[in-house]
Symmetry: none
Subunit: 248 residues, 2 copies
């Protein structure tokens, strides 16, 4: 996102059918949203089937930003929300679309960059994707019948964006002079800890390593970290390594 960002980016993560990407573009543009990001669309990009379906909202596809993976796609974002249908075991705030878009509007008004993630058609987002988000957005569907498709999930979220931004009240949170950490900063912090803790034998036994890593990553992304916090946490780890290396 560049310059004066006044709306969230909608990030389609590994979308499958071009038709659904086009339908998602239309759904967004119905409610005035036009910042689409795409992570590794299955059938490549550009996609003629997406263009055909998007009629009238084709500009969103022309301007869509393409990324090879999710960390890249949200690297410049300070607040990331993941839409999910099923409930997950990850400890994160679960927001209704209404609440989520109010939070998005408030954060954007503060100058933050917000992204909303939408998973692939069949399975939705992986836990690994969700671990990178600060919060979960869940549409309160009939527990006995949840069958929203990708464009419908985009539609409801975009609708709530419009509803919330027609009369937003801004609640300021003070991140300090350094501001909120970006997704990229949190990603680097997560990598730093993961590498050093790997070296120190923290992820043990091997059978548990993967889930321990997801939990740790989930911890960082769930915390409301400022840039100053991130620097302090880097400093802590660097100091422990120095201390060990001095071998006193």
């Amino acid at each position: 996102m560049t310059g004066n960002v006044s709306q969230p980016a909608f990030v389609l993560v590994r979308p499958q059918m071009g038709e659904n990407i086009g339908a998602a573009a239309r759904a967004m543009w119905n409610f005035g949203l036009d910042r689409m990001r795409l992570v590794a669309p299955r059938d490549g990009w550009p996609n003629p089937a997406a263009d055909a379906m998007a009629s009238g909202a084709g500009r969103l596809l022309d301007e869509a930003q393409l990324f090879p993976d999710l960390p890249d796609a949200v690297g410049d974002c300070t607040y990331v929300m993941a839409t999910t249908a099923r409930s997950r075991d990850l400890t994160k705030p679960v927001l209704s679309p209404e609440r989520a878009m109010r939070v998005a509007a408030e954060r954007i008004a503060e100058g933050q960059k917000v992204a909303v993630l939408f998973g692939p058609e069949r399975a939705g987002l992986e836990n690994e994707d969700i671990a990178r988000a600060n919060a979960i957005v869940s549409v309160p569907v009939n527990p006995g019948f949840a069958s929203l498709n990708l464009a419908q999930c985009v539609l409801l979220t975009a609708y709530e964006w419009r509803r919330q931004t027609q009369h937003v009240q801004v609640e300021m949170t003070e991140p300090g002079t350094a501001g909120w950490a970006t997704g990229q900063e949190v990603e680097k912090l997560a990598m730093h800890y993961e590498q050093r803790l790997d070296g120190a034998g923290f992820f043990f036994p091997d059978t548990k390593a993967a889930s321990m890593k997801v939990n740790l990553r989930n911890l960082w992304s769930r915390m409301p970290l400022t840039t100053a916090d991130v620097q302090m946490l880097h400093g802590i780890m660097r100091q422990m390594v120095r201390w060990k290396e001095r071998g006193e």
Copy 2:
């Protein structure tokens, strides 16, 4: 509608494609609505294409009430709302979906029978249809791009019905089975880090040590930590100390 009616009837007026009728059924059932009425569907009734599309919500089609014309279809209703995309010259209250479903819920609670009309795919409702309604429902779409299809219009209205009638807890954070960390637990965590980091020479130079300690303590207390998080953070520090003491 019969007996204790606790929801509005959604009336599809002269729908064209069976697929769209099936998609509308799914959209309704996603939000717990199951009273569908059909006025003169173009391709007759029942419609195999509708059944194929409705998968999982087929019961709504089996139970749908069929009428030859609109006056018949809303003959038993005391309050009728007409959804429209374009603005009309008719002098009637124009409600947002939100407001419309609140009104519907209030009237239904009073024992009234409420219907919501949805027009044919291409042209929408005729002025003659709208003249039979007590109010107009209009989705606040982008004035430059209004392209909601039938099922999407049904979806947004059904979503608002659910939102207005279900007082869901909108923001829940699931702290996991272990629950939120207590103040005492956070205090112990802060002490643990402070002692170890002191030993490792983190609080340097001395003149800055006090304010660094305050910042670190502030970081822990500002984070929404669960008991599991606290244990992981203890584990990280313990492991770094072990790694150093092994002196590899």
